[in-house]
């Protein structure tokens, strides 16, 4: 006899409210989603580009009836991520709802008192009064800003224009100085323009991928996905002192000594020349200065290179063999190269290898810098810091005139020389030359090298304004005035990814309280300052995008072929250059019928485009330059007192920079150690009596950090690895800078390690 259903469910409740809560339903047919949890069933979706790293993944945001984001998944139709996302992307909405969002402007009535809420009129008045009075007393260049690679291109452009043309200031820089300045300068000098030549399809089309100072498994997991999709049985070579996740997945790991990479690359160049594995025809037709380079590297023999780098002759020859014999060789680098005391020349040594072997302009080749932040590439073109808006030269009168004319500005408003770089701004604060600082969406008090000094200098300012989503960042805690900013997801604009792809970030969530988009804040500052008239045409991000289009005309980055935001969204992002297109032309011909328009719209740009297929570079003679310098020893080598070399880098794919956003997600916090861990080789650990899990101190001449020991042979003896996401790590780092790019060398300083009793 069967138990009646009601009794059965009473005894054994297979259904009920708690069960229902997790039941999944097929999403509405037209949303392009699989089954979704009933609790978070969307009524619509929209795709938006992610705002963490430079990969530029498209996220499919699930919206409720009001258009508010309630969940998201990865966009399966986007040419970048093909339906995948890293944990940061999956959790991108969570930091928006953090309880510590800044919801009103905050003012510190006097030093030593806590920040207190004020309204926008007051905040703007204080901003203009204080900065104007500093400028009156100490000159127009006594205020500076430090910005970010995390805001929209239109916002960067407005900020740069406002600050230099409106506020009459000069010195400004951004945290892209910490990640991408080297690539920018290296490309500019070698190719004539800051132009990463690759497209992500190159990951799949390469026969050999050489990663130098890059750990895409952790830093760019979705790019690593593309490597895994390569069906050409590629050699994967990782050049890195650490046996990173990527190194362990590689077919060859070259564990060279820290900061011996320049010598190593010159050694490779020499061996390739010696082997006759260079492409003389390409070199002759498309490059300059090769002979001098070949003569220079002649002394980098295998014996010399091995002695300097610790890489065996056999390994050197194996790598030379790979480069010489594989048809398509691509070189990829990230922060291991960019953050060095001789970073620019190291990046150019990589570029040289690609040029001399003809590995550029073809599928699966290239000297390819993988960018860090979601809009480092936007910052490089439109930050208006080192170069003039649109990649122009601020010292060139013709360029200034052109930009002034394009913007309808008086050319006299455009400074005729560049301002200070990040480190020079801090030095100028120390000298008392810069007295007021505006920090936008970056966290200097955590991220800058030799952090204790950076904090002292911020405290020394007459006036510090921080514009951020959170008033709780280490830097905001030091501020006199905080502007509450809307974050990614709460505003619109264009982000440009590593492969030069412009993509649209959309507004899918309401900003809390009185937080405003950075764009709106810059507009307000312009108005309050009294220079609002200069920016009348910059009325929204999209109208500003049209201005940026005009600025790009005729430049290598020309994207005048893009009609508008919708065109970008419809096309799966559009890579620059994109100069002419029927779609853009149609925008000026409103007489076209809808049918004609939609026919035009269907002619979407090719989704994977690379540069230099014709061997023509952006230098005046259209030739790529071989650039080189003699390697220099690392500035603070280990010694008896500080016997270890400290390596820093990304700790996990779940952490982003200083953690101001990723630490807000409970899920992301579970995916990485919550306390600082120091990776140490078992030999060193045994010698120092350190067991796994012991508390240790890592000490440099500048500071001390407490950590938990992770004993692992993935770091070599004599080296310590610390993930950069923890606040104490940059108390240790040694302030040295690449002379060309002014990028800090985060990845090598001398430290001592001891067990904490």
């Amino acid at each position: 006899m069967k138990t009646p259903a009601a009794l059965e469910n009473l005894l054994h409740a297979r259904t009920g409210p708690m069960t229902t809560e997790l039941v999944q339903h097929p999403a509405a047919f037209d949303l392009g989603l699989g089954r979704v949890p009933a609790r978070l069933a969307p009524v619509a979706t929209t795709n938006t580009v992610c705002g963490f790293c430079s990969t530029g993944c498209s996220l499919r945001v699930h919206l409720d009836a009001e258009g508010q984001a309630i969940n998201l998944s990865a966009d399966p139709d986007y040419p970048v991520n093909l339906g995948m996302a890293c944990p940061k992307g999956w959790e991108a909405l969570t930091p928006l709802a953090a309880p510590d969002r800044a919801t009103t402007p905050l003012l510190r009535p006097s030093r030593g008192t806590p920040l207190a809420p004020v309204n926008w009129p007051t905040a703007l008045a204080v901003f203009t009064d204080r900065f104007k009075s500093i400028q009156q007393k100490h000159g127009p260049h006594s205020i500076a800003f430090l910005s970010t690679g995390q805001i929209m291109t239109e916002e960067m452009a407005l900020l740069g224009a406002l600050f230099k043309f409106g506020l009459g200031a000069l010195h400004c820089d951004s945290n892209t100085r910490q990640c991408m300045a080297t690539s920018h300068v290296a490309y500019k000098q070698s190719f004539g323009f800051d132009a990463p030549p690759f497209t992500y399809a190159d990951f799949e089309e390469s026969d050999a991928l050489i990663f130098i100072g890059a750990n895409p498994c952790i830093a760019h997991p979705i790019m690593w996905q593309r490597v895994m999709m390569n069906r050409r049985s590629p050699e994967i070579v990782v050049v890195d002192p650490r046996a990173t996740e990527t190194a362990q997945a590689a077919t060859l790991h070259v564990a060279l000594r820290p900061k011996s990479d320049l010598t190593f690359l010159y050694g490779l160049a020499h061996l390739l020349i010696a082997r006759g594995a260079v492409k003389p025809a390409f070199i002759a037709a498309h490059t300059s200065n090769y002979e001098a380079f070949a003569a220079f590297v002649a002394t980098f023999t295998a014996a010399h290179t091995t002695a300097e780098t610790g890489v065996s002759v056999a390994t050197l020859h194996r790598l030379v063999d790979i480069i010489a014999t594989r048809e398509r060789v691509s070189f990829w680098w990230t922060m291991g190269v960019n953050q060095s005391h001789e970073a620019t020349r190291t990046a150019q040594a990589i570029i040289n290898l690609a040029l001399m072997t003809g590995n550029i302009g073809r599928p699966g080749t290239g000297a390819n810098s993988i960018t860090g932040q979601c809009n480092a590439m936007g910052s490089r073109l439109f930050g208006n810091a080192t170069s003039l808006l649109g990649g122009y030269d601020t010292t060139n009168p013709a360029h200034r005139a052109h930009v002034a004319a394009t913007l309808g500005l008086d050319v006299a408003l455009i400074p005729d020389h560049s301002g200070y770089a990040y480190d020079q701004i801090l030095d100028a604060i120390e000298r008392g030359e810069i007295r007021g600082l505006w920090v936008i969406a970056t966290n200097t008090a955590h991220s800058w090298i030799n952090q204790n000094r950076a904090r002292d200098l911020l405290a020394q300012l007459d006036f510090l304004v921080v514009q951020d989503m959170y008033a709780t960042t280490e830097t905001a805690q030091l501020a006199d005035l905080v502007f509450p900013a809307a974050g990614w997801g709460e505003k619109e604009g264009i982000l440009i990814n590593s492969e030069r792809r412009l993509a649209l970030a959309k507004k899918v969530s309401r900003a809390p309280g009185q937080a405003l988009s950075d764009f709106a804040i810059f507009k307000l500052v312009a108005e309050a300052w009294g220079c609002g008239d200069l920016f009348r045409e910059w009325c929204s991000p999209e109208t500003t995008f049209q201005i940026l289009k005009k600025l790009s005309a005729g430049q290598p980055c020309d994207f005048t072929g893009i009609r508008d935001y919708a065109h970008i969204a419809e096309s799966g992002g559009i890579q620059w250059p994109y100069a002419d297109s029927p779609v853009a032309a149609s925008a000026t011909k409103p007489t076209l019928s809808d049918a004609q328009l939609s026919a035009l719209t269907s002619q979407l740009p090719a989704q994977q485009r690379r540069l230099f297929a014709d061997g023509k570079f952006f230098t005046p003679d259209a030739r790529a330059r071989f650039l080189f310098d003699a390697p220099r020893p690392m500035p603070e080598p280990p010694d008896g007192d500080y016997p270890f070399i400290l390596l820093t880098g990304r700790g996990s794919s779940a952490q982003w920079h200083t953690g101001s956003r990723t630490d807000k997600s409970a899920v992301l916090r579970k995916l990485a150690p919550t306390v600082l861990t120091a990776e140490i080789n078992p030999e060193d650990a045994t010698r120092l009596g350190i067991s796994p899990g012991d508390r240790v101190t890592v000490r440099s001449r500048r500071g001390t950090a407490a950590a938990i020991a992770l004993v692992t042979p993935t770091v070599q003896p004599g080296q310590i690895f610390l993930p950069m996401h923890f606040g104490t790590v940059n108390k240790l780092t040694f302030p040295s800078f690449d002379p060309h790019s002014r990028q800090p060398s985060y990845k090598a300083c001398a430290v001592a390690v001891a067990r904490l009793e």
């Binding site: 708690m18 997790l22 037209d30 508010q68 890293c86 690593w224 996990s652 995916l671 919550t674």
Partner: protein, 511 residues
Amino acid sequence: MVAPKQKQSTLALIAELLAEQSRLQTPVAHASQSFEQIKNHKSEIVNFRSLIPLTQPRPGEQYAFEVELDSCTGCKSCVSACHSLNGLDDQETWRDVGLLVGGDRAHPFSQTVTTACHHCADPACLHGCPVLAYEKDPLTGIVRHLDDQCIGCQYCVLKCPYDVPKYNERLGIIRKCDMCHSRLAEGEAPACVQACPTSAIKIVTVFTSAPQLSALNSPLTSSFLPTAPDPAYTQPTTRYVTAKKLPRNLAHADATTLRPQPAHWPLVVMLTLLPAAVGLQLAQLLSAADLQRSTFNFHWLPSAAAALGGLGLFASLFHLGQPLRAWRIFLGWRKSWLSREALVFGPWFALTATIPLLDWSLGLGHWTLPVAAAATGLLGLYCSVMIYVDTRREFWRFAQTAPRFFGTAAVVALAPLAPRAAALALLLKLAWESRPFFHGATSSRLFRGPLARAVLTRVLLALATIVLLAAAPQFVTYWVTLPLLLTGELAERYLFFRAVDSPKMPGLPAA
């Protein structure tokens, strides 16, 4: 500070921009959204058919996760995708990641390990559940949890050697991975499988009938993670495959991390008061053998036993996340010691509560009920002991658990009649329970580390009790010593929960 005057144009712009900021869905967003929906028609549902079985399991087979370690490079998207696509609470995750480290200078090794429910062939959670809230799907082998059945006792958390069931504070129940069974039923891949950029997670069909499975989990052909808790206990079905030779010195990155376990205060109180109540009942029985007719008045013992017993059982309700569902607790009696404990202590309390009422009318000579109550109580304590023994945790083995629970009862029983013997018993108990301080691997480190103060408190309380029992007059023994004894036993039971070893899959360093 006085708010300085702003121009009218600035104030207007502030108002305009604040209004604009609060507006969702600009016209552009609308346009692109409608376009995307047309485009999405084509892609529809992402298809991952190559990563899930094409056919349903046959008899003797079930679905299982297969993790290709060589493809997993540590992006951890599986955890967050599971969280988002299953609509879990903010801090709730059903998948975990950990790290294995090992190798040597020539072959350094580290490996991220992703882990969720292993959908064991012989699931310990299911066997332990007192309300049958776990079911093993007969067709797919997926171990499913019935959320509306769960009483939130969290015994499955103790039973699972892989730390899979997760307690949800908001709901007061356990929730866990169900292999996205409803997605699989529609030919759609589970969230983690969909989200893995390198296709490292698959659903496969594995044999579950005994010979094949034991071959699967034998040390020679093990496809389970070599460093994980012994698969022989629950027969986990997840397969971790690698073409690499794993180094011999492989260790969990969190192997040395000390994780004091939850105290479970309601259980600490219950498991102190119930043995005490049974002890008082035993004391009453012993009084019959009190040939010297000591002057001590035993009349209050039945009432005290009833009071402590009632308090202990009442306290246990606070342990449950869903106490109103607790009436179902008998359902699991065939396998669950927790059901059995409830089935025994229920009637025991009925007896225990009756005795004081009957005592006055029937007189002390009537021993049937007190004997029955004490015997039932001892049986109940045996069930309590077995609840913990059945978790197969080193620290909770029978030789450690039984002397603790029965020891408390024994000392309480002896104290009124033979305080010196009680002192000796407590001394022996203290000595015995101190053994893990010197020998237990995890528990020893917990005792010496984060629990050192609690250990000291426990030892001092026990020693003070012993001194009083041995030296003080009898009335002190009862009115001062018993509360002191019980406080010491509370501390001991607190340590019993806090210091237990908690097996799990590899975790992250310092996590």
